[in-house]
Amino acid sequence: MIIHSILLLSMLAGQPSASARGFGDVLNKIGDIGKSVTKNKEASAPQDEDPEEAAAQKKDATLGKALKGLGVGGEAVDGIQKSLGFSRRTKKAAESTRDLDPSDERQIGRVVAAEILSKYSPQDDEGLNDYVQTVGQAVAMASDRPQTFSGYHFQVLDSQEVNALSIPGGFIFVTRGMLRLVESEDELACVLAHEVAHVALGHGSEAIVKARRLKAGLGIAADASKTYGSKASGRDLAALRGDVKAVMEILMRTGYGHGKEFEADAKGALYAQRTGYDPAAMAAVLRKLESSSASQGGFLKTHPAAGKRAGQLEEAALEPPAWYRASKTRDTRFASALAALGGSGE
């Protein structure tokens, strides 16, 4: 009886949020994506292997067996396991983010973003930047982390590279090249929502915490908060340089890992849907990336194949919210904001 009660409490703790429950279908579909993401990781991205995640998945399987033993079986167990599998990853990422004080996350993010802005020129078009900021801020508000320490900030980069990238603290860049690839506000929202998801899920912050642990020589079992606490009292330039390096390494060389990219696709589509956009636009952009030669280079070289990412989302057949309808206003303001980009390359 006690075991049963504890399991029940665990299940309640693992329930999706009220807002997420409203999108139950989407979450279930995303749960499926998460499941196949794991398969993909095993098959194509051995560098993503994470002992902690493997242990968590084993725990999920054990919980499933326990539930079946209690007479809770079939689809109910599958649903709970899917839900737990997904929420566990999100929870783990959120915990990593908590290990990093939001004001520190912003500080590191500012310096990393300032480095990016020394390598790429910011697009000098306030109308365009304001439009991207508005769409981006809207999807961020509907995310699992509506606000960072100083909010989400978006900037267009004057580059023909087809790309978008996010930095801990909520600094998000999108290139002119990417803006010329998207064909609607819904598609732009999905591109930005993917980047917001990396921030909201703490993917970059997790890397900082891991690098700090390594640096401190405390190993994987060390308590990150403790590491941070001791660092925070004696923070200096060397510490900042180490944290910045950890993020730059991801942005320029290694990427977040295939599993996290799939997760950001799925969560990004959900954020876009919560905002009122059509989440299917995420797969549409990925299909365009797939047929674009740009998908081979730049930052995107660290991402899984765009076609594979699109396939995952198409399989989930995500639908727009019930109140969704096409809008002339949306089309007009999109065309107007992006008109400044012109039609020719550099």
Partner: protein, 168 residues
């Protein structure tokens, strides 16, 4: 005799379950502290709900109940909903402000949120790193206020009807 001991065991189990439930409820109650610079207290636990108050960084809020990712809290005389990611159960570490050579008041933290941790960044640039701090300041100054954001969404037919009815 056997019956009596069985009843005793059942009573102990019942007490243990009650304690477990109470411990869970207690975890949701209590106080939380604002950990971001521009936190918003919403009228209802929805991202597009109207803002009823803006608690300051490090403000302590009393948790009344929880729904999904939202806490219903009381701040002074105002009751509203705040997203869990905006608060922390832990009181802010003193090192947050002291680490950047400032005093430890939340007012200073807010100033830092607006201006950036300039001492540290200046030192970083001085040490030979290439950073465009002016561009990041301009980027960070870019923000859309709530009224304009909701109007943008409404005009683009992105909000549900319930949100259209919701006024401040």
């Amino acid at each position: 005799m056997i019956k009596k001991s069985t009843l005793e065991a059942q009573r102990i189990i019942a007490i243990m379950i009650m304690l477990a439930v109470l411990a869970t409820v207690a975890a949701f109650a209590g106080q939380v502290h604002v950990q971001i610079a521009n936190a918003k207290l919403k009228k209802s636990p929805q991202w597009f709900a109207a803002t009823v108050a803006e608690p300051a960084l490090d403000d302590t809020l009393e948790v009344l109940k929880t729904t999904g990712d939202w806490y219903q809290v009381k701040a002074d005389d105002t009751t509203g909903w705040i997203h869990k990611s905006a608060v922390t159960a832990k009181k802010a570490k003193k090192s947050r402000a002291s680490s950047v050579g400032s005093s430890q008041t939340s007012a200073d933290d807010i100033t830092l949120a607006g201006k950036g941790f300039n001492e540290l960044e200046a030192g970083y640039r001085k040490s030979g790193e290439t950073v465009n701090l002016e561009a990041i300041d301009a980027m960070e100054a870019r923000s859309v206020d709530e009224a304009r954001l909701l109007s943008f969404l409404r005009k683009g037919a992105l909000l549900p009807k319930s949100a259209k009815r919701g006024k401040k």
